[in-house]
Symmetry: D2
Subunit: 357 residues, 4 copies
């Protein structure tokens, strides 16, 4: 049995590099040799025990690599091909997938849906912070990398680009909309870029960290609100001359940002929520207009599948969005524990790290 | 100055019939002589002081009547025409109207939106529990009643039919969907009818009152859940064999129904909220899948305007939905205080009352 | 090698029953023993040589049957299960499927789309007018029949119900719409039922055959226009008092109905086209308002996949649409040539035939 | 009676500057003193007698100016305010407006819709190539110009920006789509900018004129196809590696571009038509996949109304689209006949002219 290195969740506050067998594959799977991967904020939630996964699981859901082996029933790909796969790997054939809700992909029984069931890597099955990863339902998920794009150029496609853009897409942003994005971490920054791509003319980023504010401006923010400089709700209402925003994107996952997002929405607007929450939320009666304000709250889990990845890589190739500057630090897989240490504590201006086996 | 009788909010727990001047009209208005109107659950909220309006205001927002007089700038209608107007009377020319959000119609300044601003009758201006009512922006709001339809047949169009149907419409119900409606008051019953009209194949009504359950079955409910006979969430999950519903319509406005609606939604489903809430709401973390379940919460205020009214009256004329049986009691305007007494206490199996000046 | 009987296209005007080997299956396939199937108008196009298929191909794309054998990579089903599959059998994993266009499913190369590529049975691969049929991509396509539904009750789901309903769905029909359906063959009749399910209040069926007019009324038509009794465009404009219809569904596939559909559309309306055309079409300048009328022409190929089938069978089970009366004649597979003879010439008031091996 | 100068359609091939009375206004109108206007391709159709208007009509539908006088029933604006109005001036209160189809605004009778009825200026009523113009339904149509924007910066908003963008909007362009725009006149160039604003990653412009190709690249085209250098269909299929485009925007109005647009569409794609056609169109059977390709043909007339104008001016103010370079020539109103001469013959690299009274 061939062995490999993998970042494994052992217990709360301990993700460690271990030797594990290279995963065997079934007829519908592919084995990918990882060339580059990264760490996500969600992985930090796992590390801290805030999002539960099974001890012994390999973490990581953002793979760039090379096809090492294909399952016996897989066609349309060949070994040696350079590919990515989304963080979410829909089967393509579940009831959830077939009704357009592939991120909530469940087993094929009467139910057919499972909350967050499409997120398999580093959640339900071994992930990709390792030398190799098994990709389930390979025909729906392997997405060839166009010639000329580097690993780091496509490294954001599997999760943060897909998630951030979906925040703008699900908000139904129209040309000329005003949009606010609460929190300018990697997801929020991608939501800013997504809002610009969808035609928003006013894009307000909310954060207090200078380097993130600068990156937001670079990606399309027209205004920055620093919540340490005054009530963000008041600042945003002033910027929109009392009208409020057409869409508010929540990209942090706490009560304060959720509630502020609801407050700055114009009647009829959409709160597009991307954050991973860790406690109950409260909807204040006034911010909700007693239920009569035509407001919408829409939550979204990262869209996956090879067609999504193809489109995102096309956006990168077109040059209209450049996320490479988000990669601020680089580590070998052997040093991934140090990468977690840096990333979890947000030291040294880190935005995203690149991990190479 | 000609005088008329009108039901006026005096103070908490006092709506009384008073003499008031017949309202003067401006160039864009019409004066309607009311032939039939009704009392809404929202009027009871006003009566109880739960929804604030100005003392002295005439209550009521569901007018059927005859054009008595037209403003100088109004064309396309003639005096003596039999019409209804929606509970919501959009101007047609505000920023809110022109971006498809007419119930949140605000004044024409930079803001342009006002939460619930399209609801004018018995909220911002004098309402129609009176002998006459002034209809603002008459050209956008007067809707001629087709020959052959009685006052009582169209009495539900201005509010409960429009509101109930919108609960189904905004949920985006598709052919073959499963839908649950929480609370089978007049709005919930119309939501049941709306879900059937939109093609749902499984429609579950939740209520404990026999007469409402029966009416729900008549309007299209395929299953009834009585929450006094066991946990409604468990009953609904059993009825859908663990899948949950595609859409849950909240038609009461309390935490228990809102929360249950969220719990019975399949991942990716839509909670369509119609209730008027009177306190903050709580979103339980698990029912919300930590924000990762692709769930939507959509609130809706009754759609108005003459095109909406025309369509609803067409539905009535086609015979596909018959809401006349909802009118269980009839009163003269002179006896409206008795009507409030009956309706507010839900005595004698009352569903809706007809009030005739 | 086990043999079976199958209806095979030999050459123009000759579909004959032949002995053929029972199809072998691959890892993703299922073998279904057919218990009931039917003949479609498209099969008659094939018979007449108007739609080209390869000589030697087994015809038929509407299977009801029992799982005989499952491919090695198929899970979630078991042998002996009673199932249907759609006329269109999307793979679930192609680019076309993953961008929501599964009827145009193509091979997994750079292209990823193929016009009508999702229609495999009796078009690209052997069909189901036979004792057995191979179902490709079984996990995406096998749909268990609910207990209590007969073969004939679900026989319309694979094609005509899915196609007819999609004509109404893609037209974006709203509550209160007026809709016309041109031609009341099986597809048109299902479009009538679909328009009713989507909430149309005025549904005009156009046909000259009495039995079809009667069936249309039963399925929801509120008006019938007989084109032998006067210009159908004039009749429809009169019925809508000069307004025109919100949606016009074309269910025949000839210039006259296509053009009339365009003429009776109100500005901003939608022509939803279901017909299989056999020659170029002409768009008259005036009917098209010189391209400035905000009109839409939307064509649709039957939606397939197990989720679609599940929903349609749910509609049948709910009792809201009953298509069993469309089955006017029954034949053994051994007599299928006689069935073609009857059906192709539309003798004896035939609507649909049931074929049982 | 005060007099003014106005460009009047006299007969085929004669638009001349004449003295006419300053238009009187009704209670819902406004009188605008024109500061800048322009000539549209449609005006040239009128000049050539290809689009019929009444002799004596003042031409022009793209006004920038100052409120001179307000009708007695108009509120929310004040004299002296700098405004634009859209080429299309919806009433706000018609049935068409209230069902979201305001460009097809008709009189308030049973019909309620009129093809292209929202286009009033220079079509149904006197237009704005004059010193003054009457704006109907002023409250729905006057849109204040933000401080800091010049006349020429907002001159494209009333028509070509709104029309071009709508071609992209109605095509439902998604992030990562491939789009082709046929013909790079002012409308086509704005469609290119609109496709970019909606997130297309591949934008192919088709034209043979160098200056237009260059402008298209500047506005977002990623590829140019010159139809004099080879069959445009083949070139586009090659650029998309055989896949075809997700959306094809027709911006000329002739059979050749319409047909090519249909041919290069992937199955399931959308042909978004903006051109003003002057003869019947032919849909080739193969390009239409016999009606089974899930293709859509959507026509759009320029959206108007003050909210649309507000949004477009916001886009200009945000700096994301700069259309000022389209203004290649400037004329005084006194010289408008020379401007027509230049523009109608497309001399001297003209794209748009600015006309100032």
């Amino acid at each position: 049995m061939e062995m490999m290195k993998a970042a494994v969740f052992v217990e709360k506050n301990r993700i460690v590099l271990q030797d594990k067998p290279v995963p065997p594959i079934g007829p519908l799977d592919a084995l990918i040799r990882i060339t580059t991967t990264t760490i996500c904020g969600t992985d930090v939630h796992i590390l801290k025990g805030e999002y539960p996964v099974a001890p012994g699981l390999t973490i990581g859901h953002e793979p760039v690599g090379i096809i090492e082996k294909l399952g016996s029933a897989v066609s349309g790909f060949h070994e040696g091909q350079r590919v990515i796969a989304g963080a979410i790997t829909p089967s393509g054939h579940s009831y959830a997938c077939l009704c357009g809700c592939s991120s909530q992909d469940g087993p094929d029984n009467a139910h057919g849906f499972k909350a967050t069931g499409g997120w398999k890597f580093g959640n339900l099955i071994d992930g990709c912070q390792a030398e190799y990863v098994r990709v389930p339902d390979a025909m729906a998920n392997l997405s060839p990398v166009p010639d000329g794009l580097s690993d780091e150029q496509v490294l954001m496609c599997p999760d943060i680009m897909s998630t951030g853009f979906s925040g703008a897409e699900r908000a139904g942003i129209q040309i000329g909309d005003s949009v606010v994005v609460f929190a300018l971490g990697p997801i929020g920054l991608c939501a800013v870029a997504g809002a610009r791509l969808k035609g928003a003319s006013t894009i307000i980023g909310v954060d207090s960290i200078k380097v993130r504010q600068d990156m937001a401006r670079r990606l399309g923010a027209t205004h920055i609100v620093d919540f340490t400089q005054g009530d963000p709700v008041e600042q945003i209402m002033a910027l929109t001359r009392g009208r409020g925003v057409d869409a508010a994107i929540e990209a942090l996952g706490i009560q304060a940002t959720f509630e502020s997002a609801l407050r700055v929405l114009r009647p009829g607007g959409c709160l597009s929520s991307l954050g991973v929450y860790s406690s109950d939320l409260r909807i204040p009666l006034d911010a909700f207009s007693a239920g009569l304000g035509d407001k919408q709250i829409i939550t979204t889990l990262c869209p996956g599948g090879k067609e999504r990845m193809r489109r995102l890589m096309d956006v990168v190739a077109s040059g209209s969005v450049d996320l490479k500057p988000l990669v601020t630090h680089r580590f070998k897989l052997d040093d991934i524990e140090a990468a977690y240490e840096l990333f979890a504590h947000q030291r040294d201006g880190v935005m995203k790290v690149a991990i190479t086996p």
